[in-house]
């Protein structure tokens, strides 16, 4: 059984991004880039399923610029067997990525596709669901537990107010939530080993996918700042302020 895991190269979690002074976008020119944290969880889950003997092969895939190879190497150092880069210097929006991944499903026929639920740059939370729809596959988003039982995936997913468990037919698409697992640290021997694994490079044209953007960004601005508040000396003052000044209690 084969799994495809999609990974995105994004500005590192710890970097505080700044809006460009001309309002044309966010300045990421010299920012540290890393694998999207939710995608790390996706890789970890696939590798664990392989270690349990459920999966036989884990293929990491990324769509974007040539430097996405770095996150693919990380995925392979974590345990993915090989990687595919769909290389494009164009802006790739979620619908385009979903179409590229759909073309790879047609090529590789995975039983399971695992993606992070959301990328921490555009915060879209779309690609997994779009891919499932385009490939006519069932989906289990926001997963906190994945088991493969009798040729189906049993997935516990986080919903507002609690959680639910779905049983979905394979092949299927799963998107990961934070508590699915804790990704392993990559070790030096595994980084060395990953260097010998293969990265296949394709272009959107190879896959006959139209990647034209459907959303035009007209501008990017700083969010409104909250005016600085005050420090109160004690609980009594706080209660008085909340009652008389803010009038919220």
């Amino acid at each position: 059984m084969k799994a495809l895991v999609a990974v995105k190269r994004v500005v590192d979690y710890n970097v505080k991004v700044r809006v460009k002074s001309d309002g044309s976008g966010v300045d990421v020119a010299n920012a540290k880039m890393s694998m999207n944290p939710f995608d790390e969880i996706a890789v970890e889950e696939a590798v664990r399923l392989k270690e349990q003997g459920v999966l036989s092969e884990v293929i990491a895939v990324s769509c974007g610029v040539a430097q996405c190879q770095e996150v693919l190497r990380t995925a392979m150092a974590m345990g993915a067997d090989r990687a595919i880069l769909v290389e494009s210097a164009e802006e790739l929006q979620p619908l385009a990525v979903a179409k590229l991944l759909k073309a790879l499903i047609d090529k590789e026929h995975p039983h399971l596709v695992i993606l992070g639920k959301q990328a921490i740059d555009d915060d879209c939370n779309q690609t997994g669901q779009m891919l499932a729809a385009l490939a006519d596959l069932p989906q289990a988003t926001f997963a906190s537990k994945v088991e493969i039982v009798d040729g189906r995936a049993q997935v516990t997913r986080e919903i507002d107010g609690g959680f639910e468990t779905l049983s979905i037919a394979l092949p299927a698409v799963v998107t990961t939530d934070l508590r699915l697992n804790e990704p392993r640290y990559v070790t030096l021997p595994n980084i060395m080993k990953a260097k010998r694994k293969s990265v296949e490079i394709l272009g959107p044209a190879h896959l006959a996918v139209d990647i034209a953007p459907r959303i035009r960004t007209l501008g990017v601005s700083e969010p409104p700042r909250r005016a600085a508040g005050i420090q109160v000396a004690d609980v009594g003052t706080l209660v008085a302020k909340l009652k008389n000044e803010a009038r919220v209690i």
Binding site: V17, V19, V26, F38, P94, L95, K117, Q118, I120, D123, C124, N125, Q126, Q129, M130, L131, A132, A133, L134, L137, P138, Q139, T141, E158, I159, D160, G161, G162, E164, T165, L166, S167, I168, A172, D177, L178, R179, R214, I215, R216, T217, L218, G219, V220, S221, E222, P223, R226, A228, G229, I230, Q231, V232, D234, V235, G236, V239, L242, A246, V248
Partner: protein, 310 residues
């Protein structure tokens, strides 16, 4: 102007409050707002939707295939009527986020996530990078599929009297079934839409202290309980209490952050709150820079005394 479709979030009994915020956003996109209620035994939900101000028509598909709210079946039902609409809106909750991208992909259109402002019927504002930037984006597609961040729009009020039209339900996709669901029940208001939120961080130290310290305060204020990711990761609070970029986005009248340092990812989930109170021992905690009222104190003493002073 073409009509606007709102896909209602509900649990077959109650119309969820998030739907009301979404209807407000819909009314800014176009004149004719229709609400789709796809449920099982959800007559009460359809009636509730018909009474919301500004709703011109309620479309009600009722069948067992919708009992569990599965994305595959709900998508199919939306697609059946999608050609009538120029905008299709969902609340940006776990429910809406699960379904909207499926609909968009099958219509071959982009989706705009977490929209906080409708600038023009085809131009929208939405936060990116955990709210560190606000993007103004134009949809180039004929149909706009949108998830609406509930904190960006007031809930629409009551006073409507729309007709309810029955729709034939789609067939089951047969690919997904619900095994079980565990949803916390109780008198406490839901986090999304709560007027008061009492939220705790890792400084609470344990699940026991989290409950002992924060529950009385939330009870006293009739508020919901929330948590930082650190507190959730440490196991002090359940997953669905997490507030922040990757958790819930809230904007109560009063947000009380207790023992939360205020990482940017947490601030992304509560910065729209009307009044923010921070209680923290560390004078350098970033939460103080966004708090209207900061109290530098030991939370284990300050919170109980705040509780008895109310």
């Amino acid at each position: 102007m073409t009509a606007v479709l709102v896909v209602a979030e509900h649990d077959n009994v109650h119309l969820k409050g998030s739907t009301l915020n979404t209807i407000t956003a819909a009314a800014q996109c176009g004149r004719d707002v229709h609400v789709l209620v796809a449920g099982h035994g959800a007559v009460r939900v359809a009636k509730a939707a018909a009474q919301v101000l500004g709703v011109a028509k309620v479309l009600h598909a009722d069948a067992a295939v919708f009992a569990a709210g599965l994305a595959e079946n709900l998508t199919a039902q939306v697609l059946k009527i999608a050609s009538e609409y120029g905008h299709i809106l969902f609340p940006a909750t776990a429910y809406g986020k699960n379904v909207a991208p499926r609909v968009a992909a099958l219509l071959d259109v982009a989706q705009l996530s977490d929209v906080t402002r409708i600038v023009e019927p085809d131009i929208f504002e939405r936060p990116i990078y955990a709210g560190n930037a606000i993007a103004t984006q134009q949809s180039l597609d004929k149909v706009k599929v949108i998830t609406v961040r509930t904190t960006g729009f007031d809930p629409m009020g009551q006073g409507g009297n729309a007709a309810v039209e029955a729709l034939d339900a789609v067939a089951d996709s047969g690919k997904s079934r619900l095994v079980g669901r565990q949803v916390s029940e109780g008198d406490r208001p839901e986090l999304i839409g709560a007027k008061v939120v009492v939220s705790g961080g890792r400084a609470l130290g344990s699940s026991k202290m989290f409950n002992e310290i924060l529950t009385p305060l939330a009870d006293r204020l009739g508020g919901a309980l929330g948590a930082s990711r650190a507190a959730v990761d440490a196991g002090y609070a359940p997953n669905d209490w997490q507030i922040g970029q990757t958790g819930k986005i809230v904007a109560p009248h009063l947000y009380i952050a207790v023992g939360i340092s205020g990482a940017i990812q947490h601030l992304a989930g509560m910065l729209e709150s009307k009044v923010i109170v921070a209680i923290n021992k560390d004078p350098e905690a970033p939460i103080f820079s966004v708090a209207d009222y900061g109290l530098q104190a030991d939370l284990f003493e300050a919170v109980p005394s705040l509780c008895s002073a109310l």
